[in-house]
């Protein structure tokens, strides 16, 4: 899920609306399965998702929370929550609305198109929406917990030719720039990027709030627009074909040896040494 943030109140970007800076923040929400025991489909084309409960990707929750926080600090005018998927992914948009997003956009993708929907298609949709909504900031979760691709944010930035602040663990809006502290392999890296920009949320960026009962009721009145990918001029055909999905090999029992010589001998036998 990404949060398109529309309208940061920094005053340095003049747009068309009367007197107001319009930064739109858009969040792309991914609708994830909650998997207890993962089972591969008998025909090895994928994983069983029928009858498995789905919910918002945890990193997307963090993205929404960050967007709502920015709005509460009055640094951002409007938060738009976006999700691409079948009818049921509207639930995640509603959760985002209950957390504080202003409105939602549901890009309906179902059936075969949904099965082959990957980061490239989603990032094309996000880029198109960003232009359409005149967004200044896109916040996504760093990766989805079902496919762990970690690509959508980066691809979206590339398609829009915007700077990206990925794996963000701290975000500060500073004039028309954004200071992002990123979690990298070596530790923490702080960068300053121009707006408009794409951010991806990492685990420690914030702790998502619970939706309160009054907010859930208020969310009912918020609008969710329905859009088709074709309307945005996006071609959903995938250039990837999944050939096979299979379980990892069963763990084999190990062998115990008495001496180091035995160990070396066995390793040589197995051709490892």
């Amino acid at each position: 899920m990404g949060v398109l943030i529309t309208g940061t109140n920094t005053g340095s970007c003049e747009r068309d609306s009367p007197g107001h800076v319009r930064y739109n923040s858009v969040s792309e929400l991914k609708w994830r399965p909650l998997l207890l025991r993962i089972r591969v489909k008998p025909d090895n084309t994928g994983v069983v998702t029928d009858g498995v409960k789905h919910s918002m990707n945890p990193f997307c929750e963090i993205a929404v929370e960050e967007a709502v926080k920015l709005k509460e600090k009055k640094l951002v005018k409007e938060v738009v929550a976006v999700s691409c998927g079948p009818q049921q992914s509207q639930e995640t948009i509603r959760t985002a609305l209950a957390m504080g997003a202003d409105r939602g956009i549901h890009v309906e993708v179902s059936g075969k198109d949904y099965e082959t929907l990957g980061p490239l298609q989603v990032s094309k949709i996000m880029a198109a929406l960003a232009k359409k909504e005149d967004a200044q900031l896109i916040i996504l979760g760093k990766q989805a917990i079902d496919d762990d691709c970690n690509q959508t944010g980066q691809m979206t930035a590339a398609l829009l030719d915007w700077p990206q602040g990925t794996f963000a663990s701290e975000v500060t809006l500073d004039g028309d720039k954004i200071k992002v502290v990123r979690e990298i392999d070596g530790g923490l890296e702080t960068i300053k990027i121009n707006t408009p920009a794409v951010l991806t949320a990492d685990l420690r960026l914030n702790t998502p709030r619970y939706a309160t009962l009054p907010n859930i009721m208020k969310a009912k009145k918020k609008k969710i627009a329905n859009v088709k990918a074709a309307d945005l001029g996006v071609n959903l055909t995938s250039r990837l074909e999944v050939l096979k999905v299979e379980d990892p090999p069963q763990r084999q029992a190990g062998m115990k040896v008495e001496t180091v010589e035995d160990l070396v001998g066995k390793l040589k036998e197995a051709g490892k040494v």
Partner: protein, 419 residues
Amino acid sequence: MAALGPLSRITRLGCNFCRNHRLMFNRNSQKRGIASCIDPSYGLTDEQKEFQKVAFDFAANEMAPHMAEWDQKEVFPVETMRKAAQLGFGGIYTRPEVGGSGLSRLDTSIIFEALSTGCVSTTAYISIHNMCAWMIDTFGNDEQRESFCPDLCSMEKFASYCLTEPGSGSDAASLLTSAQRKGDHYVLNGSKAFISGGGDTDVYVVMCRTGGKGAKGISCLVVEKGTPGLSFGKKERKVGWNSQPTRAVIFEDCAVPATNRLGEEGQGFNIAMKGLNGGRINIASCSLGAAHASVLLAKDHLLVRKQFGETLANNQFLQFKLAEMATKLVASRLLVREAATALQEDRADAVSLCSMAKLFVTDECFNVCNQALQMHGGYGYLKDYAVQQFVRDIRVHQILEGTNEVMRMIISRNLLTES
């Protein structure tokens, strides 16, 4: 938390993970992963599913990890309950003008059922608190509502419901605590027994005798902690419900302003019973949550525990037993939800249905939890495993808010009284 040998994977419902780790390990999936026949979200509107989700998340993150500790150390979890109140759980069916959430009885049932999976005892207290807030909101005048309800809805202050006395339980209308009118005060004398929250709560909704014998002589007064003449007995040691203190509440020439009377003199018993109708649905909902959690625990155990060369899940007796438990659970849920709807719509059968729901559901869900414990074998008897706490906590639901015997009285009276 301790876990034993080969069953170390059988953990308390979600208690291992803090909120952030939840993201990585999908602990919630242990409760809601695979859609199954006992999924409590079937038949709900989208909005109700959202309420339920918040309640389940809150239960899993804020309550379940502490459920055992609260039970063992007898902690009254004020901070956690205040967090719940911030989400709107302090006055779920109290009107929004005074700080409540203004939801329906059915929404309330759904929420308590979900919260109960985290801790029955705490959820049950929250439901009693909600009942008191509703009584003041519904029967109080505007000054009383504005004076008491906002603090109750935010759980800045906590409430207790005082009806039962040492000499009058099921025969509630024979209560003896007297309230004599003296100028602009009532002077209370007497004592209440088994009061949930007693001693730790701030606002006491007290049924007392202002008039003659029987139900018509009873009025309802709101007594605040700190009023001279109000004192408390020792904290009772209970089998369950240990996260809420239970004490006697004692009145010795306790002067209460007459402006604290809810409704008219003589209306008190009626107010008490109307409060209890909803209270019965709430208690039944708490039993549902415990049964739901127990069925999931039992299911997990059956899939892991092996005897005689195969998992217990391959044993037909246990399969059938689990099926029966699931069926009773779903039947109970449907009855509670129907009763909640009837009460909301003020249907003619509402009171009987609430009694039937309380009777049936508390009995059946106790059996479900008990059988879940049995399926755990010896491990079910250990406090390291959550199922025993569910059993102990919901045992009292068959007794309070009107014993199940009194429920039968209400139902049979409805059937046998010539109209």
